[in-house]
Symmetry: C2
Subunit: 371 residues, 2 copies
Amino acid sequence: MLKFCKIAMLITTKYFEIDKLKLECGETLSPITLAFETYGELNSQKNNAILLFHALTGDAHAAGKHNSSDTKTGWYDKFIGPNKALDTNKYFIICSNILGGCAGSTGPSSINKLTNKPYGLNFPFITIKDMIKGQYKLVESFGIEKLHACIGGSLGAMQALEWMITYPESSNSCIIMASAPYQSPQNIALHEVGRRAIMNDINWNKGNYYDSIEKPNNGLSIARMIAHISYLSDQSMHLKFGRKIQGKEELNFELHNEFEVESYLNYQGKAFIKRFDANSYLYITRAVDYFDYSGDKLQKALNKNSCKYLIISFSSDWLYPEYQSIQIVNALQSLNLSVFYNRIESVYGHDAFLLEDEKLTPVLQGFLEHI
Amino acid sequence: MLKFCKIAMLITTKYFEIDKLKLECGETLSPITLAFETYGELNSQKNNAILLFHALTGDAHAAGKHNSSDTKTGWYDKFIGPNKALDTNKYFIICSNILGGCAGSTGPSSINKLTNKPYGLNFPFITIKDMIKGQYKLVESFGIEKLHACIGGSLGAMQALEWMITYPESSNSCIIMASAPYQSPQNIALHEVGRRAIMNDINWNKGNYYDSIEKPNNGLSIARMIAHISYLSDQSMHLKFGRKIQGKEELNFELHNEFEVESYLNYQGKAFIKRFDANSYLYITRAVDYFDYSGDKLQKALNKNSCKYLIISFSSDWLYPEYQSIQIVNALQSLNLSVFYNRIESVYGHDAFLLEDEKLTPVLQGFLEHI
């Protein structure tokens, strides 16, 4: 049985077409493609669907492998499969690449049908509400009237919250992990630095680099390094790297890659540029910056409904600190909505929602079974 | 009297020459200039001197004005002057620009006498021990055998600690604010991102930009923005900016400067490039990265002496979190040295040691008077 579980599901990415979407910025985007994957089977009552939203740089490939020769599985594979938290024996899980992304869904690197060239900076500004409006049409296309659950971490959780605000009767439950009701000024600032790093890359060329051999890879890599620091925690970096020197015993007196933590971050930056588009990074970070249910806005935006909420925060997450999860809990409780709050002790910082499978799995399973 | 206090001291920067210095990296630097300023008068017994060390991007100009028309006073003016924490009626305060700096002391932008060109990347690697060795010669030149106190915040405090380790009998007291016994991996990582931003600037040109009209200003500005975020706190950014939009009521859908926090950071970045050299930033951040009295190294390095220590941490400082100050306290206590620890509640994050004059002044005054 254990051996069986370790055989990854073979999954094919599919594509959903939307004729057009009126965006919050006022513009209309047409046409739109959403890349998506599904895991498990939709039952005949069509009431076992879970919509999983990905975070900033995720994609539709949440679980399994595309080919048996793939060395990696999808980004949430620890949580999706038979007997896992999102149990494919019970549930039908849908995950789509967000609007503005670069992994099959329409984004700045997609061809603008009006010019036959990539959009680049002609891509319209998008918001999290725009993202979930596209995904609503995808869910509708399966004939699903009400989800069993919607779930996400970080930006994924912001999408889940926006989903419940926009379509309050469309899910039985909503799981919010490592997230916030609004983007804090500190996080806007971190995003801004990342964007500046991209736009200061000589190869960015005001977003017109798709025809060039040279891409703004160094800038995008720096943006990723900044973000990556914010995904870890002071404690996890002590445990993982400490002050270890890369491959030697004594200092070499170099400006770069002297310490293991530097080599690791540079590796992460270089790995990122292979799979991500710099303009997508600009647009998606901006969409997160615009997310704003601060103050009493969340309470006012949420509708009374029978949805059950589960809010999960992680002790060492300094990107979306626990007090922001508690602000969501308070807004839900003030409306007398059903809300469970779970605070998980973790050293992994913001990334804990991706890594703490042993702690998260029983919490998610219990919640999903007793809705 | 109050009016009198508000008249800034008029101060002239002076320069101290050192023939040569053998550096920790193995190289010898020759000659060396240290820019310095003094405030107050050295008494006849020469026992009222306080050596003040500046932080990462500070300079020798700690107090007063150079000209009465100057709009700004020195970086620690709130704390230096008659009846202030470092009381010029009682003490003779010395502050010098660190080795590697760009405000009068020898650094990468200085002329290499061997080539008659700026050092650039031919400048040797420096450490915090190298910095204080130069300053020791400066203090000696006044005929001072023992300081009343050495004091600093952040990198300034690392210099103070290194001073006590290297010259254990040379100060009656030592004040360490907002600092740490070693640079954490998180902070090495933040520095590395800043360095990458500079070195990815097309105008950096491997450090050879001194003859060019175009300087690596954008890269240096980005490095400053990253650092500036780490000097503030989540809470202070909420209080100072929140999610306020720059100069308007509604979103404009722009990639930059939409939020006040972005405009502020960009302003800080642009102000910084007027006063700082990009190569100096590379070398000084690296010197801080190398600072390492982690584990039991501090206890082993400190010598038993009669110096009285005051360690001050600030509650919202996440760059040098309180546990790192406590590690210093523990090392001192384990050697049965005299140590006072003061934890100051502040929302200002790491910058609190520059801003919390009302809370800090009585603590510093009391300590300095009762040594």
